[in-house]
Subunit: 326 residues, 2 copies
Amino acid sequence: MNISDIAAMAKVSKSTVSRYLNGGSVSQKTKDKIDKIVQTTGYSPNQFAQSLKAKRTFMIGAIIPRLDSYAANQILEGADTYLREVKYQTLIVNTSQSIEQEIEALYTLSKNKVDGILLIATQITKQHIEAIQNIKAPVVLIGQSDAHVPSVIQNDFEAGRMMGEIFGKQNFKHIAYVGVDEYDKAVGIERKKGVLTGLQHYNQIPDVHYTTFDLQQAVKAADQLVTQYDALICATDNIALGTLKAAYQQNIQVPKQLSIAGFGGYNTTAIVTPSLATISFPYKHTGEKAAQNLIRIINGDTIEQLEVMDFEFIKNNSIDFSESNE
Amino acid sequence: MNISDIAAMAKVSKSTVSRYLNGGSVSQKTKDKIDKIVQTTGYSPNQFAQSLKAKRTFMIGAIIPRLDSYAANQILEGADTYLREVKYQTLIVNTSQSIEQEIEALYTLSKNKVDGILLIATQITKQHIEAIQNIKAPVVLIGQSDAHVPSVIQNDFEAGRMMGEIFGKQNFKHIAYVGVDEYDKAVGIERKKGVLTGLQHYNQIPDVHYTTFDLQQAVKAADQLVTQYDALICATDNIALGTLKAAYQQNIQVPKQLSIAGFGGYNTTAIVTPSLATISFPYKHTGEKAAQNLIRIINGDTIEQLEVMDFEFIKNNSIDFSESNE
DNA sequence: CTGTTAGCGCCTTCAG
DNA sequence: CTGAAGGCGCTAACAG
């Protein structure tokens, strides 16, 4: 069932049907005639033929490191909601944390499959930049920023600083920051710098330990930490959750003996007991913003190269506020 | 940069280049010549033109109800891993729990976009079946089964029964089952039936209460239950997590005063304290199996209409086993 | 082994 | 308002 069939059935030419389909000028009579036929046959134009001509697919590729990341899911949700509104479809590609797959996805997606790409990255290498510059499809970076690529990021430094100050105000004896590797500039560097700055303001200098984004690893890493400190600022909520588990395992009471906080605003922080203090980032809105910017680029409009989102402190009850210093 | 350009540069015809591209017989000499040109130009064939001819896209659509579902993510991960191996790309469409969007996705995806569809559903209506039969793309159902559509499901009845027996063996005073609505045949009906059967075996008849898949709702729903029973079998891990939270809020000790178990094998069940007993379903493997079957259908091979996966009991420590009845 | 030819289904001038 | 003709980039006979 193609345009010729419809044309034949309606006894008009293909071009008339094409015009009918694309809002060209067609007399009411022929319009009705074609209408009826399209209805009964259930005809719909072949998208490949359309794309072949138009060189647009109305598809946006979204590259994500993991499927089971709360942040990535929320970002996608936000992006998808917006994209759906403007008639784009989202093609999600999971790279399972493999950086080669990430580069590859950039190439294969751009290879005339999608009109633009949303890259949710944890780390930006020169390879990434190179790939982004090689491909024709526009790219918007989410979560990490780069001078050469439009980016939408969280305000990691300020979020860190706020958390640092919140802990700094209390009279904790031994504070530690449990961070992640610095290849992740946003979380590994900016967020940490913020925390240190905030604590610094109250003349506190925490010990700094490192672990990964993995929850189980965090449990192990925290194993020794929970007994040594009375306050742990964790780079992510997952690390904070792992820390809480480790505390439980050693019968350390939170927040009485140990105060814990994380970053992210994951749902799970509210489910555990005690609920974990955290800084909530507007992931959905971030995705939406990034998608909007991408579409603007595609449409030839101008955008801010760097967009920094807001954040919010969620108090909950995993921090002992009894000894406020103010 | 298209096939004609390459042909011109290599001073051969388009068809020769096409053969080169598709493994047709080409002399070593011309092969080398074209090779070089393809290398330097970075040419790659236009996929729309290819699809226009071939009527295949090597894309598989995956329809999921929510992005933030552990089960759905695992299933996708498994499917994606397999599909990647066989050179298919996965196009994930999130329907945000809207059944209309689900139907719509079925139609738009099939509309010559994908070669097949994986439908992770929570509920199958006649509309679904109708849509599936209207579209040309083959569909494999995951999580729910239907006589008319190839399906891959969990063994909900047996899993429920095992859990029922485990609880039945103990001398609990008041057992309740916290289920979900029956529109979900797998979880709402089969799983419940299994639990009741298992308990029945020990002459136990539990009270049955209902809530939704939402964690926050479960907390509320469990609020009154945790004081009335000494054992709660929850239809999902999320409900179990909500129940645990409610127990904490009322200072009820788990498992000393209250035993809790869920279904699903979510990671979070191991993170909370105490870790929750659960039945773990092989979601990744489920996704892989479904993807394999879908590809087989596409290739014209035959498959089992209904595939039932295995499961495993994860003991953890949220059940009080001190009063075994055996 | 290679070139010619004819579409795949659609859109878009260009005439009428 | 409508039709004819050509081309988007690729593949697949069909000859040679």
